[in-house]
């Protein structure tokens, strides 16, 4: 497998210049993600309004894959309902772990397409957790993160 398949330009761009890299003043939910294997840490902030994700942002440090994945996630999830976000995570998780992808609402197809560059990690089992760290943190934030919570990938 060529390294270019893993480190596509869009990954390098988002990895080095992550979008929505900030801490909002009053997020509805937040959660910390930690990968003990490599020390990567990410905090995801979510604000809900009228049942939709009004704002999602993150802060943290980590490898290009984890930073790019967090960055792309924040761009995609803005304006989605929590149910749509969960469906996207489910589909993305299936993509990067190489299992059969669940059916996805046609309206979300474009968003899933945008996550395609991250699927190169499939060939690097040790790196799958890097790509899913921010998503796990996002999921944990919505589930029980009003007071903040920590998920570990191990």
């Amino acid at each position: 497998m060529d390294l270019r398949d893993l480190y596509q330009d869009i990954i390098l761009d988002h990895g080095q210049h992550p979008r929505n890299f900030r801490k909002p003043e009053h997020p509805s939910y937040l959660a910390h993600g930690h990968n003990p294997l490599c020390g990567d840490r990410v905090t995801v902030f979510v604000t809900l309004e009228n049942g939709r994700i009004n704002d999602v942002s993150f802060q943290g440090r980590g490898c290009a894959i984890s930073q790019a994945s967090a960055s792309l996630m924040t761009e995609i999830l803005k304006g989605k309902t929590p149910e749509e976000a969960a469906a996207l995570f489910k589909g993305f998780h299936a993509k990067v772990t190489g299992v059969a992808e669940p059916a996805l609402a046609p309206a979300l197809a474009d968003d899933m397409e945008r996550l395609e560059p991250l699927t190169g990690v499939k060939a690097y089992p040790a790196r799958v957790k890097c790509a899913t760290l921010a998503w796990h943190a996002f999921e944990a934030a919505l589930r029980n993160g009003a007071a903040g919570t920590t998920v570990k990938t191990e």
């Binding site: 390294l3 893993l6 480190y7 390098l12 080095q16 294997l37 490599c38 020390g39 490898c63 290009a64």
Partner: protein, 416 residues
């Protein structure tokens, strides 16, 4: 069984020839293996020797009266004698077989620590320690209330000897230090540490996991009370390690695990325990692992311990020189003397990405905190990439590493 690879005419190791002793290189053409600090590859003599033992000589040890069992016992105890020679210990009864260095340290913490230490006693470690030389003492602290004291490093990355000296007090009962730091390759002056500790009435445990495969270790000259190392970093099998303890100290220590093989007489009222080392080897041991380690020791002695040290020191120097001339690459300091380990960071590329990018060039290195999180914190880095050397490495491996680093910088567009 011993296979002696010819040295070059100048008496130096010939890594190209040595590579042919290690089947992994023929099976993985182009592999640049720079992760011996995590675990070394195995020479064919070890792999085949273990298989041969299972084919020809296998039976349980210390039990059977039949010839095969006697033969197996003989081979197991022969391996203990080889380890004694390898460490220049005074007596083979000072050699306890354990699973790995970690278990050796846990044995000391549980048996010696539980028995002889009490609340308020201090154990002095350094900030450079592997988690294996931190966590067992923390567990002991929680059991008996000892205090764990940590000696810092100086600005060059070596042990701060002035601070270390000041931290040895009448309360210090044990000094537990690494011989060669696994993150930086810093060689710790263990002889002077032992002198200082003993003068203060403290015992000393040395973690020789990185040192034993590289330095001609002489436990009598070093004088430490305990010395541990693991077999798999010394070109032996996984699952076998060694605790060396001075006989007079081991004699006074109670068992830490009970079972078969460690007893003289058992009734439901009372059990009489074996003498060391068997007192500390409960249950059927890793017989083939010990035998494999013995063969690895024969192999290393065939190469020559001095020749190995000279080779790895020269290659370390070459690596330091090569990496420090790469723009954007920062070697983590190792103080006065460094051996076989090169930890570094690269501007703009996370160590995890570095390791994946280097793997793309078939260069195998370790990335992360190297089981030494407090050390990484003291160094002011969250993670590093680590290249570590073995007897099969030569300058071309360092050159491959350097060019793979440049390739990574180019791909990440962080070239200066």
């Amino acid at each position: 069984m011993t296979l002696v690879t010819p040295l070059r005419p100048n008496g130096r190791l010939d890594p190209r020839a040595i590579c042919r002793d290690f089947p992994v290189f023929a099976r993985n053409p182009g592999l640049v293996f720079l992760d011996s600090g995590a675990s070394a590859q195995k020479p064919a003599v070890v792999i085949d020797g273990v298989a041969e033992y299972y084919r020809s000589d296998y039976a349980n040890v210390h039990r059977g009266v039949y010839r095969l069992s006697a033969r197996s016992t003989e081979l197991y105890e022969e391996a203990r004698e080889k380890v004694r020679r390898f460490l220049n210990a005074a007596d083979a009864r000072e050699i306890v077989f354990v699973r790995n260095a970690t278990e050796g340290i846990n044995l000391v913490a549980n048996s010696w620590g539980n028995t002889f230490l009490k609340a308020g006693d201090e154990i002095l470690v350094t900030v450079m320690e592997h988690h294996a030389n931190i966590v067992p003492w923390q567990l002991l602290r929680d059991r008996v209330g000892i205090k764990l004291v940590v000696a810092p490093i100086d600005a060059t990355g070596g042990l701060d000897m002035a601070a270390f000296t000041a931290l040895i007090t009448p309360r210090t009962k044990l000094v537990a230090v690494t011989h060669v730091a696994n993150v930086t390759g810093a060689v710790v002056p263990v002889e002077s540490i032992v002198r200082m500790a003993h003068a203060a009435g403290a015992k000393v445990l040395i973690d020789g996991s990185q040192a034993a495969p590289r330095l001609p270790v002489d436990v009598q000259a070093i004088g430490a009370d305990f010395y541990v190392f693991t077999g798999h970093k010394a070109y032996g099998p996984t699952g076998i390690g060694v605790l060396h303890g001075k006989k007079v100290i081991l004699d006074a220590m109670p068992p830490w695990q009970g079972g078969g093989d460690m007893i003289l007489d058992v009734t439901f009222e009372k059990t009489i325990f074996q003498e060391p080392p068997h007192r500390f080897e409960a249950g059927t041991p890793d017989i083939s692992g010990a035998i494999g380690l013995g063969i690895a020791i024969d192999y290393l002695e065939g190469l020559g311990r001095d020749a190995i040290l000279e080779h790895e020191e020269a290659l370390t120097g070459y690596g330091v020189d090569r990496l420090s001339r790469l723009p954007g690459v920062h070697l983590v300091g190792a103080g006065q003397r460094r051996l076989a380990i090169l930890s570094f960071t690269i501007d703009g590329i996370h160590p995890h990405d570095v390791a994946t990018l280097l793997d793309g060039h078939k260069v195998a290195v370790r990335a992360g905190h190297h089981c030494a999180q407090p050390f990484l914190e003291a160094l002011g880095v969250g993670a590093t990439t680590r290249a570590s050397l073995g007897v099969y490495n030569d300058e071309s491996d360092i050159d491959a590493l350097a060019s793979a680093i440049q390739g990574a910088q180019k791909m990440f567009k962080v070239t200066k």
